[in-house]
Symmetry: D2
């Protein structure tokens, strides 16, 4: 039974957008090869312990920090807030929630100023900051534009056991739900939540957590994503392509999931839609709709449901992973106990089953 | 043990290209919906028994004939030859081979003149013709250009039990091999063979045959293929998307396999390469190379290996299907008895297995 | 000398985005042919006097109203505000400015509720509304997706004689400047201003005004814009392609300008960048930079500088057009009295002039 | 009055395709920067006097040779023939025509074996070879694939005063005409001629000659060409973009013309159509059709008509340039003495002129 996170009496910080993720990697050189040589992220700064990377159209110092460490995990999901005062607001907000917080006037990473990090009610390390070093926005540096260029950080995705609890907490924090996946029993399997005017800044995926499901970067067009696959084939690392490319049902984006050398999952994503109106229609998908996760009905591989990255507390230790108690999306949709349909009415169409051929593992 | 088809003493007909396929469909209206409404092929002519379809850039009467009949099957794989005299050459060639042939001065279908159909040594109904009605080439009719426009017939693909036998026969007929799939024991699993300057006009896929594996149409760009998937999702017929989209290892083309209402397989295909030089390098792929069929290592669904369309003899009766005696590609690459690798040396790379995650069914 | 619009004491309405434009057309059937048959906008509703059109991803009733009338002109630039109360705020704001306003609880067009229209200080007919009929969002209706599909209304562009005056007024109204074009004498030639998180919801182009320069729709990818050109070629109306396609310097978007049957200019636009951060860097372009309007240095045709649509007052009469007194961008950049450079330092590079070949008309 | 080149009694050599061009450049380092750093051609081999370049999908040693020399010019238009014996055939053919020929068993360039170079009847340095060094075909080297990747040499384009004379000579040599531009007086302005199954291996453009109009490389998709423009903008060399990008009327290809540091013109080209059938329909365009050179009616810049590269004789001296006596395409289509139409019947359509706005220079 869901025990909701209380709603603080102080106002929530005014969040602008997801801004960067700090991940711990076990071999900095191999991770650099993946994120810089394969994916083409741009190095703002680096030393022997950390690499600060940004996407082409970014003007803040970084969207991704790779930090060397003993255990692959996520150290921070960092959001930019609207003004310096909103960092104070964030600190007060989480203090009232009884969460552990840590404020650093000089920031937790290079290029970022006054920040607060918290262990949030779901167990995730969230950061809020406003002050940041501006760097060259490479938008028109087409001399640097690779065939698979990543142009923006798009969103985070978090695994948490109790999606309604997480959703209510994030709604209090000012996020709005664009889409979700439910079943007719009222179970919520996932929810997509945004501050900026896209489908999400973060999403909650029901599962054992707190864990980081993926971090997503956007490309301009679909062919850029195909090139990333083609390049990974050429480099003979196609076994790091986990799922896709495909078209999402949820979000309508064209997508690809790949795995970095530590198994951290990265999504490449393009062309979702505008969500900036206050009454932007929320879309609820039936968990049994075979096109919800892939509009073409292509199967979701099991690892995509089960694998995710640990997240760290403010001391740098992994948070314990709590099991999801509700039904699992994988269990209810594939295999002996689950089912999916292509047509809601179950109409046979062509005297065939209504199941995607080959979709059942 | 392969018993080769003898090489005739008369010259082989000079084949220009694969030109059209005639397929028998059991419900003409439903097939029309698929090929015209979904795929957007252009109707040259139609009556209650047959529909004549062409791709955007075609100037001959048709690339596909849908003919109403009791059993879904293929009635003809039709090739265009270089001159009227080459139809005579084809007839003489197959007569010497002892094959049944039928010559019709007025053609077997509307829009085509003097033709010969044969039951070829592999059991396939091949047609050879030169005379044809020219129709409007719609190349610049961008007012008719759909988002998933099919612009050319690209190739046929035939299932035959004994690939080396078929290959030698087609080489005698003037085809040249661009690529093939083999193993270290010398077994050939498939071969791609061309007359025009692309990777193939037809391919041989090892399996129970004679059967038709697929007929392929080309688009201009990759996004056109993605649109076809998206549209099939919108029409809630994503269960007719059998495999892909993906990048082929063999041919390097971007591809998609879909199924028509009778289960006839259609490939949508774009961007293979020029093969017109006499010494065009032949590429041999190892059957265990996990990127041979899909450059990104995405798994081939079992139905793609096992399902195919019957072919008809000249009386319109289905040819009996003969079992392949050699090893099956599916068996040697997936499941308990097979294996595939991503890196030839089996290097673990990342302490991972070298197998595509999720690729094993 | 600029006489600035006073800043009201009441708060500005909280504007969400540009939402629709109402244009008067002289031949409704011919305009329908252009916007529906050629451009593929979707008809929400229509009668003998007006057609209500929306783009694929829109969920409000319309983005464009074509209204039959005697003089081709623009009847409204309509913005959506954040709540019903903001319509009151808008009314109060313009009343304090001494502008003529008209409030209609049932809206000025079908599908829109409580709205206020004003004759703004620059002479433009602005509308503010919140209430709106939701209609089917066609985002995933790929069965309706044309090769040149327009997916969103992107922005308006207004011609006004005094850009700094207009800019200060729009900044008071809550718009933020993303980019502008100036010269070293301090003359401003144009400014781009946004509420939503793109480069603009509207732009001010220096010239004789008030007039409407263009209304812009977005596509997903660049090839969609090319298809619109190709289709206009196929329909033999390439003389309605006024400028482009090209890459803008300002905004970095890929663009095309076309003319409807009345000469109203429509831009097709894709892939500008995120501007949602409070400190989003403003970019100032030198008016003599030959890549500011077209990143490839392709020339701007004179008509693009000189032609624009009349705008109507609240009685439906055309607003008088006032001449720009400051220097004209066309005059200072082309012809005998103007100049442009490709490289700022005027470096000859290749012993050539630094001028775009063929760029001088 | 055309004095035709006699038809030799010996058979014409069997030409496979245009294979490479050798151009003389005045500053090898600057040319390398253009062809390698900007355009991304792949270096097969280089020394202080020459650079051998190839496109991604090429398997012969090179498609372009840059040779250092005092005068920018073209040293050879090289065709590959079907077998070693065809080099003999070429030599005999031109000897009978009375042309100067030079045979080199070890080739004229690195990587090419037995070859013959001739000063052809039109004054062009043609080469014919079969023997060639095979190099790595980079087709699937997506790790090397740039955003503007050039994948094939597509064609040559030659300026010659008398197009019908050149055309008849090339038809004798085995080329077939795919398209041409004429007027109602019977004047031919240009002709496109092919051996491989594309629109052309070479084209004849009417003008003062012999000169080289351009050499063309193909990309896979249209966005690759747009990227080349974007990159040239980023490098502030947009003044080397001479014309385009656009859609050709003739050939239907998407195109771009750029200029190398010596003013040699390079076309980037994609998506023409299959021409391999013996009765491939020839398309004749009216010189006054405003969409013949650009399907969107965008104007052809004068330099494109007037500028071209010198060609060398077998001693390395520039061939004298002979003036075209017939009408010039530029003169008959633009300016006071010329005219073009968008609609053949001259229908006003929209009460407008039928001329492309801004198209008249």
């Amino acid at each position: 039974m869901t025990s909701f996170v209380p709603t603080p009496t102080v106002p929530a910080p005014d969040i602008v957008r997801c801004a960067y993720m700090e991940i711990v990697v076990t071999d900095l050189a191999r991770s650099r090869e993946f994120y810089v040589d394969v994916l083409g992220l741009h190095v703002t700064e680096e030393d022997e312990n950390a690499i600060y990377l940004r996407s082409l159209e970014e003007f803040i110092h970084h969207n991704l920090v790779l930090r060397k460490g003993p255990i692959a995990a996520v150290a921070a999901f960092a959001y930019r807030v609207k003004s310096p005062a909103e960092v104070d607001a964030a600190e007060a907000y989480y203090k009232e929630l009884g969460c552990r917080t840590e404020r650093r006037k000089d920031g937790f990473t290079k290029g970022i100023g006054d920040s607060v990090r918290v262990e949030d009610p779901l167990g995730f390390p969230y950061e809020f900051f406003y002050e940041v070093e501006h760097v060259e926005r490479l938008t028109q540096r087409y001399d640097l534009y690779s065939a698979g260029e990543l142009v923006r950080l798009d969103h985070f995705n978090q695994v948490t056991p109790d999606v309604p609890r997480g959703r209510a907490y994030l709604e209090d924090l000012g996020f709005r739900v664009s889409e979700d996946i439910k079943d007719s029993d009222g179970v919520t399997y996932a929810a997509w939540m945004h501050r900026k005017q896209t489908v999400h800044d973060t999403a909650l995926t029901g599962g054992n957590g707190p864990r980081m499901h993926h971090v997503a970067f956007a490309t301009h067009e679909k062919h850029n994503i195909i090139q990333i696959c083609d390049k990974m084939g050429a480099l003979r690392i196609s076994d790091r392509i986990e799922r896709g490319p495909g078209r999402h049902g949820v979000s309508n984006a064209f997508y690809l999931y790949i795995l970095d050398p530590d198994g951290h999952r990265v999504e490449i994503y393009t062309q979702d839609y505008y969500t900036g109106d206050p009454d932007n229609p929320t879309i609820t998908w039936d968990v049994h709709d075979n096109q919800r996760r892939d509009w073409w009905g292509n199967p979701v591989v099991p690892s995509w449901y089960t694998e995710a990255s640990l997240v760290l507390d403010l001391d740098g230790n992994p948070q314990p992973v709590i099991e999801r108690e509700e039904k699992s999306e994988m269990a209810v949709t594939v295999g002996a106990d689950g089912f999916s349909y292509t047509r809601k009415d179950g109409s046979p169409e062509d005297d065939r089953t209504g199941f995607k051929l080959g979709a059942q593992l």
